[in-house]
């Protein structure tokens, strides 16, 4: 219990504290906690530092975790492989991941269920000096991506939406996103499919916006828990989503200036961007649409990442069902 302090993302002290009263006003459903207040349920969630994380950090920042009697430990990883290793080792209860990730877990006989959606966009950008100005120019150009991930999947979906084959661009594997940014900025590569804050950084730098996952109605990021945790801590997980929704409500309603420092620190925006950051409204957590999940399964099974028999029902779990 003592070391959770080091792993919880705490706002720096000079950031203006968001008012807890403001958050409490939005509470519509009081939690039906049965456990004694002293015995908080521990939920350990693994994530990579990104835009999706903001509501989770706000849950702790706004004191919502205490309210729901949760000990929410957010573990930040620098690589998805490390996160998966920790998850499989039982060091985590849940993760922020995506459709493809859950397909892979399922394929490894590791029963992980999608329990909610998270929000984050993936922007297709072209390098400043690549000469590309629209989707029509990208045929045969090179793009730095990671393989067998949601980036790979999202790229294929965007290409398909623009009536192109998956192999109409040259895919280069570059595991770390900062390296992709650097290659793009230095014209070693033509295209990138980047999440925040990297998209903003390169766009500020003069890169060309070509399209995004959200543009084509794709929201592939989700939160997921193991079936075991869902069975053992179902109430805590449900409370987490209640807290999540409250945090989302607070974010959507409050001006960003009162929590911008937390956002900068969580997502990793450069300090210079302070004041220019915009937050798209977050959606409340719910289960992802069936067509999206099934389309992801189809893609993953084609890549031999999972079996084609995988069904929507196997993939998701409704925390409100019990």
């Amino acid at each position: 219990k003592a070391d959770n302090k080091s792993t919880n993302t705490n706002a720096s002290t000079n950031a203006p504290k968001p008012s807890k009263e403001a958050a409490s006003e939005n509470v519509t459903n009081a939690p039906e906690t049965t456990a004694a207040p002293s015995a908080k349920t521990v939920l350990r969630i693994g994530m990579m530092s990104s835009y999706d994380v903001i509501p989770y950090v706000m849950i702790n920042e706004l004191g919502l975790a205490d309210k729901y009697n949760l000990d929410l430990q957010l573990e930040v990883f620098t690589s998805a492989k490390d996160r998966d290793a920790a998850f499989l080792a039982g060091e985590l209860d849940g993760v922020l991941t995506d459709y493809i990730g859950v397909c892979i877990y399922q394929n490894a006989d590791f029963d992980v269920k999608i329990t909610g959606i998270t929000d984050g966009d993936y922007v297709l950008v072209a390098g400043k000096s690549s000469g590309i100005t629209s989707m029509n120019d990208i045929k045969g150009k090179s793009i730095a991506i990671s393989q067998n991930t949601l980036i790979d999947y999202t790229l294929d979906q965007i290409l398909a939406k623009n009536s192109m084959e998956s192999d109409s661009v040259v895919k280069e594997i570059v595991p770390r996103i900062p390296d992709r940014v650097e290659l793009l900025r230095n014209n070693k590569i033509d295209l990138g499919l980047l999440p925040e804050p990297f998209a903003s950084i390169v766009l500020n730098d003069g890169a060309v916006y070509l399209g995004s996952a959200n543009d084509i109605g794709l929201y592939p990021a989700v939160s997921a828990f193991t079936k075991k945790v869902l069975d053992e801590k179902s109430e805590a997980v449900r409370d987490l989503y209640l807290a999540y929704n409250e945090a989302v409500a607070y974010i959507n309603k409050t001006d960003i200036s009162s929590y911008e420092d937390i956002v900068i620190k969580t997502v990793g925006y450069p300090e210079e961007m302070k004041g220019q950051i915009t937050i798209e409204p977050f959606r409340e957590s719910k289960l992802p649409p069936r067509e999206d999940v099934e389309s992801a399964i189809a893609w993953a099974s084609k890549k031999e990442l999972c079996s084609s028999d995988l069904t929507y029902e196997q993939m998701v779990y409704d925390v409100y069902s019990k």
């Binding site: 070391d3 080091s6 792993t7 530092s49 573990e75 930040v76 990883f77 620098t78 690589s79 492989k81 490390d82 996160r83 998966d84 290793a85 920790a86 499989l88 080792a89 039982g90 060091e91 770390r176 996103i177 900062p178 940014v181 650097e182 900025r185 230095n186 990297f198 950084i201 990793g268 925006y269 450069p270």
Partner: protein, 245 residues
């Protein structure tokens, strides 16, 4: 003196690289040093202490396991038969790929970090202890055997002093490896340590902080290296005598 020289020469190379290229990946060294003060308040000392503790534990455990194992391997024919294939087989296994197993057995805190570090270093120690024992001049043993010395006394009076210089070399090499691996194991399950500091800055494309981290690691490493050299000079006094050639 040496420190200043090394420091300046590296920075000169860096400055030239900065002037020749024009990318944020190689920032102006002057700007980096300017930012040093601002960053020091980022609990740099805590980061350093965390990393030193992990390196210290990793090196100590590796030596405690590696030196006796190397000695056993070099002297005992039976141990050699059993351990030699095992070690030659496990040495090339990329230890970082064993992370899932390490996490499974020891969690994602310092346990698995130190174990991965030990797995990487201990084989280097074993191999170099074994090899340096095999290189000991056989006549070194002749006299000590006539005194009726047991195996422990032989190891203490002949083997260890004879391999000490090479052991210190191996320690230097291992130290380098430990620092590298820090960079891998501090990428998960912690928010302290120099490895984390650099990775974090890197993922935020904050090259200034990243270089501050790298320089800090280099300075610490340099100091540790110089301490090992000083140690070598003190312990291996005999090999520095009579060397007028």
């Amino acid at each position: 003196m040496i420190f200043v020289q090394g420091f300046l020469s590296i920075n000169l190379i860096w400055l030239i690289a900065f002037l020749l290229t024009d990318t944020p990946v190689i920032p102006n060294p002057l700007r980096v040093y300017q930012s040093f003060a601002i960053v020091l308040k980022d609990h740099m000392l805590i980061h350093i202490l965390y990393s030193l503790r992990r390196i210290g534990a990793g090196l100590a455990i590796s030596l405690i396991i590696g030196v006796p194992a190397g000695i056993l391997l070099a002297y005992s024919r039976r141990a050699n038969r059993i351990l030699y294939p095992l070690i030659y087989f496990s040495y090339p296994i990329p230890k970082t790929a064993l992370l899932p197993i390490a996490m499974l057995l020891l969690g994602m805190r310092d346990g698995s970090k130190v174990v991965i570090m030990v797995l990487v270093i201990v084989f280097q120690v074993i191999v170099s202890v074994r090899d340096s024992i095999q290189a000991i001049d056989k006549t070194m043993y002749q006299f000590i055997k006539s005194t009726g010395a047991g195996n422990l006394a032989i190891i203490r009076h002949v083997t260890l002093p004879a391999i000490l210089p090479q052991l210190l070399t191996s320690l230097r090499v291992s130290l380098g490896a430990a620092v590298s691996i820090l960079f891998f194991v501090e990428g998960y399950g912690t928010t302290y340590g120099m490895g984390y500091y650099i990775l974090d800055a890197w993922s935020r494309i904050n090259y200034i902080e990243m270089y501050i981290g790298i320089i800090t690691i280099a300075v610490i490493g340099f100091l540790l290296f110089v301490s090992i050299d000083y140690l070598a000079y003190r312990i291996c006094k005999w090999s520095y005598t009579g060397s007028s050639l």
